[in-house]
Symmetry: C2
Subunit: 324 residues, 2 copies
Amino acid sequence: MNKPYVIGVDIGGTNTVFGIVDARGQVIESDSIKTRKHTNFDDFVSELYEGVKRLLEKNEAEDKIQGIGIGAPNANYYTGEIINPPNLPWEGPVIPLADKVSKAFGGIPVAVTNDANAAALGEMTYGAARGMKDFIMITLGTGVGSGIVVNGQLVYGHDGFAGELGHLIVKRNNGRMCGCGRTGCLEAYCSATGVARTAREFLEVRTEPSTLRDLQIEDITSKDVYDAAVAGDKMAKDIFNYTGTILGEAFADMVSFTSPQAIILFGGLAKSGDLLMKPLQEAFDKSVMPVFRGKTKIILSELKESDAAVLGASALGWEAKNMA
Amino acid sequence: MNKPYVIGVDIGGTNTVFGIVDARGQVIESDSIKTRKHTNFDDFVSELYEGVKRLLEKNEAEDKIQGIGIGAPNANYYTGEIINPPNLPWEGPVIPLADKVSKAFGGIPVAVTNDANAAALGEMTYGAARGMKDFIMITLGTGVGSGIVVNGQLVYGHDGFAGELGHLIVKRNNGRMCGCGRTGCLEAYCSATGVARTAREFLEVRTEPSTLRDLQIEDITSKDVYDAAVAGDKMAKDIFNYTGTILGEAFADMVSFTSPQAIILFGGLAKSGDLLMKPLQEAFDKSVMPVFRGKTKIILSELKESDAAVLGASALGWEAKNMA
């Protein structure tokens, strides 16, 4: 018997957002708790359960849940665990996420994946990738995340950790340090923090005037660079050109890999408009292999940002029913 | 009703090899014709048909063929066509390969793919990748080809041309010209011709003695470099170090993409032993993202080289039966 709803849960570094979602991708109702309030993981799960229960009771949906989908950093689809969470308060190295949540909810099937894979699923189920069998989701936030879909399926790889396109090496010599412990990763250049780092580099190396010089150099954010560029600041525009060019060149390599129908962008930086998209598209068109030229669209997510994380995670909830 | 044999056909630039193959990967018998003898494609197909017919009659296998699998440069799995063949004598730009061969053989199902994808299928069906659901096949020949397997399926992409890993960009500045029209591709460095180009560069730029200096610089082949390195020539060894390092770094990026259980090497250059494999493995171990460290094996093909092309193509013949 099909049940009409799933629950989507997005565990972020600050907030954990959860909601009831129907098959058309409508978020019936959502709420959130503070991720870092409990250092004990069982306490976190209890509070999550209480929060979801309130939503279910209010919407008379207690018996209408097919499954629960959870997106979380470093969550592994195969094992249902969070491995070495970089930014979560619970004791690791391994947190049995799916198992504990399923038990708390009386055995409802639970599936987990990382946040970028959840975004890709959300886009495929409810957004810009509906009907696509081959596409790549790129999330441009604090870091650069990715979810790769091939033949209509997410690419998990043999260990469940595939799709780390933010860690393709884009500078082989003298590349920037990356949080992963290596140097020259895409993420070190084309994330929000990467843009801020570029700003600091440009301000130090170049001598031309810029309104960015009025700010404390250590406090500059990608938002500051965006505002300056919109106001016409030449150096700020150059920073976006630099970022978009690196991203476009990296996208060309991604196309040589899986030849996707589209690369879909999501996240704060993706909303920079032509400032980012124009140099990105130019570099991509120039760099892509001739056999793929003109075939892969670079487009923006169609999911409302406030709903996207819950929607993406919830999409996995429909799948979870089949795995129980 | 299952039939016990498939036919594998490998269309190369010089020879077209074909054979009868059983379900255990035994080549019952094989033969070949000259690819370039006929400039008219129909005449080529007629000669192929006659050649295969002789084999079938001799082995009393006329009624025992499930399907025909064909590997050919630029062959497209989805359309069954060869597109813009770079090195074949027939009038293009589009050659309806599957259609014409199937008609010539009285409607037997035919499936086609490019040579590197065929190699991956062969390895998965009969070779080193048996039982693997996620691996990458890299062919190191005149060029660098690749076949990517994800979730047990070849990655074709939305247009059938995915898996061009020989054209990942490994040098973003002042990279070598590549046959694809761009610069800095992996293939321009790590193919047999890439090794010869490296030799010419080293000989021109460096001043140290080398037995390679006894050869005509324009005629040097990767085989010459191999022979010199085996004999202890320092520069020749450096050329292999250079080649293996670039390859190992590129493999690290490939792992960030699909997290394969193994990367499998095939082709002349792959038989260079430790000369290539040692620097390759070292660069790979150093470059791979920490989360993937120690997980992906780099191994050699287990298929006999004389049989591999026919075996690989034949593996597609089993699949072709399902598409008819």
